[in-house]
Protein backbone atom coordinates (compact mmCIF):
# COMPACT_ATOMS: atom_id res chain seq x y z
CA UNK A 1 0.00 0.00 0.00
CA UNK A 2 1.52 3.28 -1.11
CA UNK A 3 0.27 5.45 1.65
CA UNK A 4 1.60 6.84 4.90
CA UNK A 5 -0.11 8.11 8.03
CA UNK A 6 1.73 10.93 9.78
CA UNK A 7 0.78 11.41 13.41
CA UNK A 8 1.31 14.96 14.63
CA UNK A 9 0.88 18.24 12.75
CA UNK A 10 3.82 20.24 14.10
CA UNK A 11 6.91 21.23 12.10
CA UNK A 12 8.25 17.65 11.84
CA UNK A 13 4.93 16.08 10.84
CA UNK A 14 4.08 18.87 8.41
CA UNK A 15 7.43 18.62 6.70
CA UNK A 16 7.18 14.82 6.52
CA UNK A 17 3.70 15.00 4.99
CA UNK A 18 4.72 17.56 2.37
CA UNK A 19 7.83 15.59 1.39
CA UNK A 20 5.87 12.36 1.09
CA UNK A 21 3.46 14.11 -1.27
CA UNK A 22 6.38 15.37 -3.33
CA UNK A 23 7.47 11.73 -3.65
CA UNK A 24 4.00 10.89 -4.98
CA UNK A 25 2.66 9.01 -1.97
CA UNK A 26 -0.79 9.33 -0.44
CA UNK A 27 -0.64 10.93 2.99
CA UNK A 28 -3.05 11.26 5.89
CA UNK A 29 -2.10 13.65 8.71
CA UNK A 30 -3.64 13.11 12.13
CA UNK A 31 -3.56 16.07 14.51
CA UNK A 32 -4.91 16.15 18.04
CA UNK A 33 -5.58 19.91 18.08
CA UNK A 34 -8.03 21.86 15.99
CA UNK A 35 -5.28 23.62 14.02
CA UNK A 36 -2.10 22.61 12.25
CA UNK A 37 1.30 23.93 13.29
CA UNK A 38 1.92 22.16 16.58
CA UNK A 39 3.36 23.81 19.67
CA UNK A 40 4.67 26.92 17.83
CA UNK A 41 1.09 27.75 16.86
CA UNK A 42 -0.67 26.58 20.00
CA UNK A 43 1.72 28.47 22.28
CA UNK A 44 1.80 31.52 20.03
CA UNK A 45 5.52 31.70 19.30
CA UNK A 46 6.38 35.23 18.24
CA UNK A 47 9.74 35.51 16.52
CA UNK A 48 11.94 32.50 15.90
CA UNK A 49 15.56 32.42 16.98
CA UNK A 50 18.09 33.01 15.66
CA UNK A 51 16.91 34.96 12.65
CA UNK A 52 14.05 36.71 14.43
CA UNK A 53 11.67 35.67 11.69
CA UNK A 54 7.98 35.61 12.57
CA UNK A 55 6.97 32.07 13.52
CA UNK A 56 3.89 32.63 11.43
CA UNK A 57 6.01 33.01 8.32
CA UNK A 58 7.89 29.74 8.85
CA UNK A 59 5.23 27.48 10.31
CA UNK A 60 2.63 29.08 8.07
CA UNK A 61 4.64 28.00 5.02
CA UNK A 62 4.82 24.42 6.30
CA UNK A 63 1.06 24.37 6.89
CA UNK A 64 0.35 25.84 3.48
CA UNK A 65 2.46 23.23 1.72
CA UNK A 66 0.44 20.48 3.38
CA UNK A 67 -2.88 22.12 2.56
CA UNK A 68 -1.97 22.69 -1.06
CA UNK A 69 -0.38 19.33 -1.68
CA UNK A 70 -3.51 17.30 -1.15
CA UNK A 71 -2.69 15.81 2.22
CA UNK A 72 -5.75 14.33 3.87
CA UNK A 73 -5.87 16.25 7.17
CA UNK A 74 -7.69 14.90 10.25
CA UNK A 75 -7.95 17.57 12.96
CA UNK A 76 -9.14 17.02 16.53
CA UNK A 77 -8.12 13.42 16.07
CA UNK A 78 -6.05 10.94 18.03
CA UNK A 79 -4.83 7.48 17.18
CA UNK A 80 -6.23 5.12 19.80
CA UNK A 81 -5.36 1.68 18.44
CA UNK A 82 -3.17 0.03 15.89
CA UNK A 83 -3.49 -3.36 14.25
CA UNK A 84 -1.36 -5.14 11.69
CA UNK A 85 2.29 -4.65 10.92
CA UNK A 86 4.82 -4.67 8.14
CA UNK A 87 3.30 -2.72 5.28
CA UNK A 88 -0.27 -3.16 6.36
CA UNK A 89 -1.33 -1.13 9.38
CA UNK A 90 -4.87 -0.28 10.39
CA UNK A 91 -5.10 2.71 12.69
CA UNK A 92 -8.16 3.51 14.74
CA UNK A 93 -8.62 7.26 14.88
CA UNK A 94 -10.92 8.92 17.38
CA UNK A 95 -12.39 12.33 16.66
CA UNK A 96 -15.23 14.38 17.99
CA UNK A 97 -17.76 12.55 15.88
CA UNK A 98 -16.62 9.04 16.53
CA UNK A 99 -14.13 6.55 15.20
CA UNK A 100 -12.68 5.93 11.80
CA UNK A 101 -10.08 3.58 10.40
CA UNK A 102 -7.05 4.54 8.35
CA UNK A 103 -4.99 2.11 6.33
CA UNK A 104 -1.25 2.70 6.15
CA UNK A 105 1.79 1.10 4.59
CA UNK A 106 4.00 3.06 6.97
CA UNK A 107 3.57 5.38 9.92
CA UNK A 108 5.56 8.45 10.97
CA UNK A 109 5.27 9.50 14.58
CA UNK A 110 5.84 13.22 15.11
CA UNK A 111 3.94 13.80 18.31
CA UNK A 112 6.31 16.30 19.84
CA UNK A 113 7.03 17.58 23.31
CA UNK A 114 5.47 19.58 26.07
CA UNK A 115 6.95 22.20 28.34
CA UNK A 116 8.04 21.37 31.84
CA UNK A 117 5.46 22.35 34.45
CA UNK A 118 7.43 24.48 36.92
CA UNK A 119 4.94 24.13 39.74
CA UNK A 120 6.70 20.78 40.27
CA UNK A 121 9.47 22.93 41.77
CA UNK A 122 7.58 25.05 44.29
CA UNK A 123 10.66 27.03 45.33
CA UNK A 124 10.24 29.21 42.23
CA UNK A 125 6.75 30.22 43.25
CA UNK A 126 5.17 29.43 39.91
CA UNK A 127 1.42 29.26 40.29
CA UNK A 128 1.71 31.07 43.62
CA UNK A 129 3.05 34.45 42.56
CA UNK A 130 1.32 35.69 39.41
CA UNK A 131 4.45 37.52 38.24
CA UNK A 132 6.42 34.30 37.98
CA UNK A 133 5.74 33.12 34.45
CA UNK A 134 7.16 30.59 32.01
CA UNK A 135 9.13 31.36 28.86
CA UNK A 136 6.13 30.06 26.90
CA UNK A 137 3.86 32.62 28.57
CA UNK A 138 6.35 35.40 27.86
CA UNK A 139 6.38 34.26 24.24
CA UNK A 140 2.61 34.61 24.15
CA UNK A 141 2.84 38.13 25.61
CA UNK A 142 5.45 39.09 23.03
CA UNK A 143 3.14 37.73 20.35
CA UNK A 144 0.30 39.85 21.66
CA UNK A 145 2.56 42.88 21.63
CA UNK A 146 2.37 43.72 25.34
CA UNK A 147 4.47 42.40 28.19
CA UNK A 148 2.92 43.16 31.57
CA UNK A 149 2.98 41.83 35.10
CA UNK A 150 -0.07 39.61 35.49
CA UNK A 151 -0.49 40.94 39.04
CA UNK A 152 -1.09 44.58 38.13
CA UNK A 153 -1.03 44.94 34.36
CA UNK A 154 2.06 47.16 34.39
CA UNK A 155 5.18 46.82 32.31
CA UNK A 156 7.90 45.35 34.56
CA UNK A 157 11.02 47.46 35.10
CA UNK A 158 13.35 44.68 36.11
CA UNK A 159 13.04 41.15 34.77
CA UNK A 160 14.98 38.03 35.73
CA UNK A 161 15.06 35.12 33.33
CA UNK A 162 16.05 31.84 34.99
CA UNK A 163 17.55 29.19 32.75
CA UNK A 164 17.32 25.41 32.92
CA UNK A 165 14.03 25.15 34.80
CA UNK A 166 13.15 21.48 34.51
CA UNK A 167 16.33 20.76 32.55
CA UNK A 168 19.72 19.53 33.71
CA UNK A 169 18.17 18.79 37.05
CA UNK A 170 18.45 15.42 38.75
CA UNK A 171 15.84 16.54 41.28
CA UNK A 172 13.15 16.26 38.63
CA UNK A 173 14.83 13.35 36.85
CA UNK A 174 15.64 15.41 33.81
CA UNK A 175 19.35 15.40 33.32
CA UNK A 176 19.28 16.49 29.70
CA UNK A 177 19.60 19.94 28.21
CA UNK A 178 16.63 21.56 26.46
CA UNK A 179 18.99 22.79 23.74
CA UNK A 180 16.92 25.79 22.78
CA UNK A 181 16.37 27.56 26.10
CA UNK A 182 19.52 29.62 25.88
CA UNK A 183 18.91 30.99 22.43
CA UNK A 184 15.22 31.50 23.20
CA UNK A 185 16.04 33.47 26.36
CA UNK A 186 18.57 35.56 24.42
CA UNK A 187 15.94 36.21 21.79
CA UNK A 188 13.24 37.12 24.31
CA UNK A 189 15.65 39.41 26.14
CA UNK A 190 16.51 41.17 22.88
CA UNK A 191 12.81 41.60 22.14
CA UNK A 192 12.17 42.98 25.63
CA UNK A 193 15.02 45.47 25.40
CA UNK A 194 13.97 46.49 21.92
CA UNK A 195 10.41 47.09 22.99
CA UNK A 196 11.11 48.57 26.42
CA UNK A 197 14.57 50.20 26.37
CA UNK A 198 14.35 51.14 30.07
CA UNK A 199 13.70 47.60 31.22
CA UNK A 200 16.62 45.83 32.89
CA UNK A 201 16.88 42.21 31.82
CA UNK A 202 19.04 39.70 33.65
CA UNK A 203 19.56 36.11 32.54
CA UNK A 204 20.70 33.70 35.25
CA UNK A 205 22.51 30.71 33.77
CA UNK A 206 24.83 27.79 34.55
CA UNK A 207 26.25 27.54 31.02
CA UNK A 208 25.09 29.32 27.93
CA UNK A 209 24.51 26.66 25.30
CA UNK A 210 24.03 28.19 21.90
CA UNK A 211 25.07 25.35 19.62
CA UNK A 212 23.09 26.03 16.44
CA UNK A 213 24.08 28.07 13.45
CA UNK A 214 23.43 31.69 14.30
CA UNK A 215 22.61 30.96 17.96
CA UNK A 216 25.90 32.19 19.36
CA UNK A 217 25.68 35.34 17.28
CA UNK A 218 22.27 36.08 18.77
CA UNK A 219 23.67 35.60 22.27
CA UNK A 220 26.45 38.08 21.45
CA UNK A 221 23.92 40.49 20.08
CA UNK A 222 21.89 40.33 23.29
CA UNK A 223 24.99 41.12 25.32
CA UNK A 224 26.80 43.50 23.00
CA UNK A 225 24.02 45.47 21.36
CA UNK A 226 21.11 45.20 23.75
CA UNK A 227 22.78 45.35 27.15
CA UNK A 228 21.22 42.14 28.42
CA UNK A 229 23.01 41.10 31.58
CA UNK A 230 24.12 37.49 31.94
CA UNK A 231 24.72 36.37 35.51
CA UNK A 232 26.45 33.05 36.05
CA UNK A 233 24.48 31.38 38.77
CA UNK A 234 21.34 29.33 38.94
CA UNK A 235 18.31 30.94 40.53
CA UNK A 236 17.44 29.13 43.74
CA UNK A 237 14.12 30.45 44.96
CA UNK A 238 11.61 33.25 44.67
CA UNK A 239 9.72 34.93 47.46
CA UNK A 240 7.39 37.87 47.63
CA UNK A 241 7.73 41.09 49.59
CA UNK A 242 4.87 43.46 49.08
CA UNK A 243 4.34 43.65 45.36
CA UNK A 244 7.88 42.76 44.37
CA UNK A 245 9.44 39.38 43.89
CA UNK A 246 12.68 38.57 45.62
CA UNK A 247 15.03 36.26 43.79
CA UNK A 248 17.68 34.32 45.63
CA UNK A 249 20.59 33.59 43.34
CA UNK A 250 24.32 33.48 43.61
CA UNK A 251 26.54 35.59 41.41
CA UNK A 252 29.09 32.79 41.39
CA UNK A 253 31.99 34.86 40.09
CA UNK A 254 31.73 36.95 43.18
CA UNK A 255 30.88 34.06 45.46
CA UNK A 256 28.00 36.08 46.73
CA UNK A 257 24.52 34.72 47.27
CA UNK A 258 21.98 37.45 47.50
CA UNK A 259 18.29 38.17 47.46
CA UNK A 260 17.32 40.80 44.93
CA UNK A 261 14.02 42.46 44.00
CA UNK A 262 12.58 41.91 40.53
CA UNK A 263 9.23 42.79 39.03
CA UNK A 264 8.89 39.67 37.01
CA UNK A 265 10.61 36.28 36.92
CA UNK A 266 10.55 34.24 33.73
CA UNK A 267 11.28 30.53 33.98
CA UNK A 268 12.92 29.10 30.86
CA UNK A 269 11.16 25.78 30.97
CA UNK A 270 12.58 22.58 29.51
CA UNK A 271 11.04 20.04 27.20
CA UNK A 272 9.65 16.64 28.00
CA UNK A 273 7.89 14.07 25.83
CA UNK A 274 4.28 15.03 25.19
CA UNK A 275 1.37 12.86 26.28
CA UNK A 276 0.92 11.97 22.62
CA UNK A 277 4.52 10.84 22.31
CA UNK A 278 4.21 8.65 25.40
CA UNK A 279 0.94 7.20 24.13
CA UNK A 280 2.28 6.44 20.64
CA UNK A 281 5.45 4.87 22.06
CA UNK A 282 3.38 2.46 24.07
CA UNK A 283 0.83 1.86 21.28
CA UNK A 284 3.54 0.96 18.74
CA UNK A 285 5.71 -0.79 21.32
CA UNK A 286 8.65 1.56 20.85
CA UNK A 287 11.39 1.70 23.44
CA UNK A 288 11.86 5.00 25.25
CA UNK A 289 15.22 6.07 26.60
CA UNK A 290 16.01 7.16 30.15
CA UNK A 291 15.05 10.73 29.22
CA UNK A 292 11.52 9.60 28.29
CA UNK A 293 11.84 10.28 24.56
CA UNK A 294 11.53 7.62 21.84
CA UNK A 295 14.70 5.65 21.24
CA UNK A 296 15.37 5.32 17.50
CA UNK A 297 16.87 2.19 15.92
CA UNK A 298 20.35 3.72 16.01
CA UNK A 299 20.94 7.31 17.09
CA UNK A 300 23.76 7.78 14.61
CA UNK A 301 23.06 5.40 11.75
CA UNK A 302 19.25 5.13 11.69
CA UNK A 303 18.10 8.18 13.63
CA UNK A 304 14.51 8.32 12.32
CA UNK A 305 13.89 4.56 12.15
CA UNK A 306 12.55 2.46 14.98
CA UNK A 307 12.88 -1.17 15.77
CA UNK A 308 9.29 -1.70 14.54
CA UNK A 309 9.28 -2.22 10.75
CA UNK A 310 7.40 0.50 8.94
CA UNK A 311 7.28 2.86 11.94
CA UNK A 312 9.38 5.99 11.74
CA UNK A 313 9.78 8.90 14.10
CA UNK A 314 10.78 12.54 13.79
CA UNK A 315 11.03 15.82 15.65
CA UNK A 316 10.82 16.42 19.38
CA UNK A 317 9.34 12.97 19.99
CA UNK A 318 13.04 12.05 19.73
CA UNK A 319 14.21 14.70 22.17
CA UNK A 320 14.49 18.49 22.48
CA UNK A 321 15.31 20.36 19.31
CA UNK A 322 14.50 23.51 17.38
CA UNK A 323 12.04 23.89 14.51
CA UNK A 324 14.80 23.71 11.92
CA UNK A 325 16.04 20.34 13.11
CA UNK A 326 12.52 19.02 13.64
CA UNK A 327 11.57 19.80 10.05
CA UNK A 328 14.82 18.25 8.84
CA UNK A 329 14.00 15.04 10.66
CA UNK A 330 10.50 15.14 9.19
CA UNK A 331 12.03 15.20 5.71
CA UNK A 332 14.43 12.39 6.61
CA UNK A 333 11.60 10.26 7.99
CA UNK A 334 9.58 10.85 4.79
CA UNK A 335 12.48 9.58 2.73
CA UNK A 336 12.92 6.51 4.95
CA UNK A 337 9.19 5.71 4.79
CA UNK A 338 9.12 6.07 1.00
CA UNK A 339 12.17 3.87 0.59
CA UNK A 340 10.59 1.30 2.87
CA UNK A 341 7.40 1.21 0.81
CA UNK A 342 9.37 0.90 -2.40
CA UNK A 343 10.81 -2.34 -1.12
CA UNK A 344 13.97 -1.08 0.50
CA UNK A 345 14.47 -1.20 4.22
Amino acid sequence: MENVVVIGGGPAGLKAAAELRSLGLDVALVEKAGVLGGTPVQEKFALLAPELRPAEEVVGALVKAVQQDGVQVHLNSTVTAVAGQGKDFTLTVQNGKGEERLQAGAVIIATGYEHFDPSVKPEYGYGVFPDVITSAQLEGMLSDGKVVRPSNGQVPKKVAILQCIGSRDAQVERKYCCRVGCVVASKQAVELRQKYPDMQVYIFYMDIRTYGRGFEELYWKAQDDFGVRFIRGRGAEVRRRGDELLLKAEETLKARASETPFDMVVLTVGMGPSEGTKAMASLFGLPVAEDGFVEPADRMLAPVSTKAAGVFVAGTALGPKDIEDAALEGAAAALRAAAYLKGGK
Partner: protein, 219 residues
Protein backbone atom coordinates in the same frame (compact mmCIF):
# COMPACT_ATOMS: atom_id res chain seq x y z
CA UNK B 1 -1.47 28.09 30.55
CA UNK B 2 -3.28 29.83 33.37
CA UNK B 3 -1.35 31.75 35.95
CA UNK B 4 -1.72 31.60 39.71
CA UNK B 5 -3.88 28.59 40.16
CA UNK B 6 -2.27 28.30 43.56
CA UNK B 7 -1.43 24.64 43.69
CA UNK B 8 -0.64 23.92 47.29
CA UNK B 9 2.24 21.59 47.74
CA UNK B 10 2.00 19.86 51.07
CA UNK B 11 4.70 17.54 52.30
CA UNK B 12 4.26 15.84 55.68
CA UNK B 13 1.60 18.36 56.58
CA UNK B 14 3.85 21.35 55.82
CA UNK B 15 2.88 23.68 53.01
CA UNK B 16 5.90 24.29 50.80
CA UNK B 17 5.09 26.99 48.27
CA UNK B 18 6.77 30.38 48.05
CA UNK B 19 4.42 32.12 50.46
CA UNK B 20 5.37 29.68 53.14
CA UNK B 21 8.95 30.89 52.99
CA UNK B 22 7.94 34.42 53.90
CA UNK B 23 8.32 33.79 57.59
CA UNK B 24 12.09 33.65 57.07
CA UNK B 25 13.92 36.96 57.49
CA UNK B 26 14.62 38.93 54.30
CA UNK B 27 18.18 39.83 53.48
CA UNK B 28 17.69 42.01 50.47
CA UNK B 29 20.71 43.30 48.62
CA UNK B 30 20.13 45.41 45.58
CA UNK B 31 23.67 46.38 44.73
CA UNK B 32 24.81 43.19 43.05
CA UNK B 33 22.28 43.74 40.29
CA UNK B 34 22.30 47.47 39.76
CA UNK B 35 23.29 48.84 36.36
CA UNK B 36 24.02 52.43 37.39
CA UNK B 37 27.78 51.98 37.83
CA UNK B 38 28.01 49.99 34.61
CA UNK B 39 26.27 52.72 32.68
CA UNK B 40 28.41 55.45 34.22
CA UNK B 41 31.66 53.62 33.45
CA UNK B 42 30.58 53.00 29.87
CA UNK B 43 30.26 56.72 29.29
CA UNK B 44 33.90 57.29 30.30
CA UNK B 45 36.51 57.24 27.52
CA UNK B 46 37.56 53.62 26.92
CA UNK B 47 34.63 52.15 28.81
CA UNK B 48 32.34 51.65 25.81
CA UNK B 49 32.96 47.92 25.36
CA UNK B 50 32.60 46.95 29.02
CA UNK B 51 29.21 45.25 28.77
CA UNK B 52 30.41 42.85 26.09
CA UNK B 53 32.58 40.97 28.58
CA UNK B 54 31.53 37.39 29.23
CA UNK B 55 33.97 36.77 32.04
CA UNK B 56 36.13 34.11 30.41
CA UNK B 57 39.29 35.20 32.25
CA UNK B 58 41.61 35.22 29.22
CA UNK B 59 42.67 38.76 30.07
CA UNK B 60 43.53 38.09 33.71
CA UNK B 61 45.35 34.86 32.91
CA UNK B 62 47.67 36.55 30.43
CA UNK B 63 47.87 39.91 32.19
CA UNK B 64 51.36 41.33 32.72
CA UNK B 65 50.62 42.75 36.15
CA UNK B 66 48.63 39.87 37.58
CA UNK B 67 51.69 37.90 38.80
CA UNK B 68 53.21 41.01 40.40
CA UNK B 69 50.30 42.68 42.07
CA UNK B 70 48.25 40.53 44.38
CA UNK B 71 44.60 40.81 43.37
CA UNK B 72 45.20 42.53 40.04
CA UNK B 73 42.50 40.95 37.93
CA UNK B 74 40.96 42.90 35.02
CA UNK B 75 38.19 40.32 34.60
CA UNK B 76 37.14 40.86 38.18
CA UNK B 77 37.33 44.65 37.95
CA UNK B 78 34.88 44.43 35.05
CA UNK B 79 32.61 42.09 36.99
CA UNK B 80 32.51 44.38 40.01
CA UNK B 81 31.52 47.32 37.84
CA UNK B 82 28.83 45.24 36.16
CA UNK B 83 27.48 44.31 39.55
CA UNK B 84 27.44 47.91 40.67
CA UNK B 85 29.65 47.07 43.63
CA UNK B 86 31.27 50.43 44.25
CA UNK B 87 32.60 49.49 47.71
CA UNK B 88 34.60 46.61 46.29
CA UNK B 89 35.92 48.75 43.45
CA UNK B 90 37.04 51.37 45.94
CA UNK B 91 38.66 48.71 48.09
CA UNK B 92 40.59 47.51 45.06
CA UNK B 93 41.66 50.96 43.88
CA UNK B 94 45.28 50.35 44.84
CA UNK B 95 45.41 47.35 42.53
CA UNK B 96 43.41 48.86 39.69
CA UNK B 97 45.90 51.68 39.30
CA UNK B 98 48.77 49.29 38.61
CA UNK B 99 47.76 48.46 35.03
CA UNK B 100 50.82 48.68 32.79
CA UNK B 101 48.73 49.55 29.69
CA UNK B 102 50.55 46.80 27.81
CA UNK B 103 47.39 45.91 25.84
CA UNK B 104 47.93 42.14 26.04
CA UNK B 105 44.42 41.73 27.39
CA UNK B 106 42.85 43.72 24.58
CA UNK B 107 44.69 41.75 21.92
CA UNK B 108 43.56 38.45 23.36
CA UNK B 109 39.96 39.16 24.33
CA UNK B 110 37.69 36.89 22.28
CA UNK B 111 34.69 39.16 22.75
CA UNK B 112 36.08 42.38 21.32
CA UNK B 113 36.31 44.06 24.70
CA UNK B 114 38.99 46.74 24.71
CA UNK B 115 40.05 45.47 28.12
CA UNK B 116 43.02 47.78 28.68
CA UNK B 117 40.89 50.82 27.93
CA UNK B 118 38.11 49.50 30.14
CA UNK B 119 40.59 49.22 33.02
CA UNK B 120 41.57 52.80 32.19
CA UNK B 121 37.93 53.85 32.33
CA UNK B 122 37.59 52.22 35.74
CA UNK B 123 40.57 54.23 36.99
CA UNK B 124 38.92 57.33 35.55
CA UNK B 125 35.78 56.39 37.47
CA UNK B 126 37.83 56.23 40.68
CA UNK B 127 39.36 59.62 39.94
CA UNK B 128 36.02 61.14 39.15
CA UNK B 129 34.76 59.99 42.53
CA UNK B 130 37.82 61.32 44.30
CA UNK B 131 39.58 58.05 45.05
CA UNK B 132 43.27 58.27 44.35
CA UNK B 133 45.92 55.62 44.59
CA UNK B 134 48.15 55.46 47.65
CA UNK B 135 51.62 56.53 46.44
CA UNK B 136 54.39 53.97 46.73
CA UNK B 137 57.28 54.43 49.19
CA UNK B 138 59.54 55.39 46.30
CA UNK B 139 57.07 58.02 45.13
CA UNK B 140 56.78 59.50 48.64
CA UNK B 141 60.55 59.57 48.98
CA UNK B 142 60.99 61.26 45.61
CA UNK B 143 58.45 63.91 46.49
CA UNK B 144 60.09 64.84 49.82
CA UNK B 145 63.49 64.79 48.17
CA UNK B 146 62.45 67.17 45.41
CA UNK B 147 60.68 69.41 47.88
CA UNK B 148 63.82 69.87 49.89
CA UNK B 149 66.04 70.44 46.90
CA UNK B 150 63.75 73.07 45.41
CA UNK B 151 63.11 74.87 48.70
CA UNK B 152 66.50 74.67 50.36
CA UNK B 153 68.93 73.60 47.72
CA UNK B 154 70.00 70.69 49.89
CA UNK B 155 68.85 67.55 51.65
CA UNK B 156 68.40 67.46 55.37
CA UNK B 157 68.69 63.88 56.46
CA UNK B 158 66.85 64.17 59.76
CA UNK B 159 63.88 65.91 58.25
CA UNK B 160 63.95 63.63 55.24
CA UNK B 161 63.79 60.51 57.39
CA UNK B 162 61.20 61.94 59.70
CA UNK B 163 58.85 63.02 56.92
CA UNK B 164 59.32 59.80 54.99
CA UNK B 165 58.34 57.61 57.91
CA UNK B 166 55.41 59.81 58.86
CA UNK B 167 54.05 60.15 55.34
CA UNK B 168 54.20 56.41 54.73
CA UNK B 169 52.39 55.81 58.00
CA UNK B 170 55.28 54.26 59.89
CA UNK B 171 55.77 56.40 62.99
CA UNK B 172 56.72 53.27 64.93
CA UNK B 173 59.67 52.59 62.68
CA UNK B 174 60.76 56.20 63.02
CA UNK B 175 61.01 55.72 66.77
CA UNK B 176 63.08 52.57 66.29
CA UNK B 177 65.56 54.41 64.06
CA UNK B 178 65.95 57.30 66.52
CA UNK B 179 69.01 55.66 68.09
CA UNK B 180 70.81 55.45 64.79
CA UNK B 181 70.00 59.11 64.07
CA UNK B 182 71.43 60.09 67.45
CA UNK B 183 74.73 58.33 66.70
CA UNK B 184 74.96 59.98 63.30
CA UNK B 185 74.43 63.37 64.86
CA UNK B 186 77.04 62.76 67.54
CA UNK B 187 79.51 61.86 64.81
CA UNK B 188 78.58 65.01 62.93
CA UNK B 189 77.15 63.11 59.96
CA UNK B 190 73.72 64.62 60.33
CA UNK B 191 72.37 67.86 61.74
CA UNK B 192 69.31 67.93 63.91
CA UNK B 193 68.30 71.51 63.35
CA UNK B 194 69.05 72.57 59.82
CA UNK B 195 66.45 74.46 57.89
CA UNK B 196 68.97 76.86 56.38
CA UNK B 197 69.28 77.21 52.65
CA UNK B 198 72.59 76.45 50.94
CA UNK B 199 75.22 79.17 51.05
CA UNK B 200 74.93 80.02 47.40
CA UNK B 201 71.11 79.99 47.31
CA UNK B 202 71.03 82.55 44.51
CA UNK B 203 73.29 80.45 42.30
CA UNK B 204 71.31 77.37 43.23
CA UNK B 205 68.08 79.05 42.18
CA UNK B 206 69.73 79.85 38.87
CA UNK B 207 70.62 76.16 38.42
CA UNK B 208 67.11 75.08 39.30
CA UNK B 209 65.63 77.59 36.88
CA UNK B 210 67.77 76.33 34.03
CA UNK B 211 66.95 72.71 34.81
CA UNK B 212 63.24 73.51 34.77
CA UNK B 213 63.55 75.30 31.44
CA UNK B 214 65.46 72.35 30.00
CA UNK B 215 62.74 69.99 31.28
CA UNK B 216 60.21 71.93 29.23
CA UNK B 217 58.98 74.31 31.86
CA UNK B 218 57.00 71.58 33.52
CA UNK B 219 57.30 73.12 36.98
Amino acid sequence: MAVAQSPTVVVDGVELTGEWMNFLPFRVETDPFDDALLKETMTLPGGESLAKCWQCGTCSAGCTMNPYVDGFNPRQFIDLVRLGDWEEIRAKSDQIWRCASCQKCTHRCPKEVNTADVVGAITALLERRGVYAKPTNAEVFAEIFMDQVTNHGRIEEAKMGQEFYLKTGRAGELAKRAGMGMQMMLKGQMKLFGGAKVKHWKGMQEVLKRRRAAAGGAH
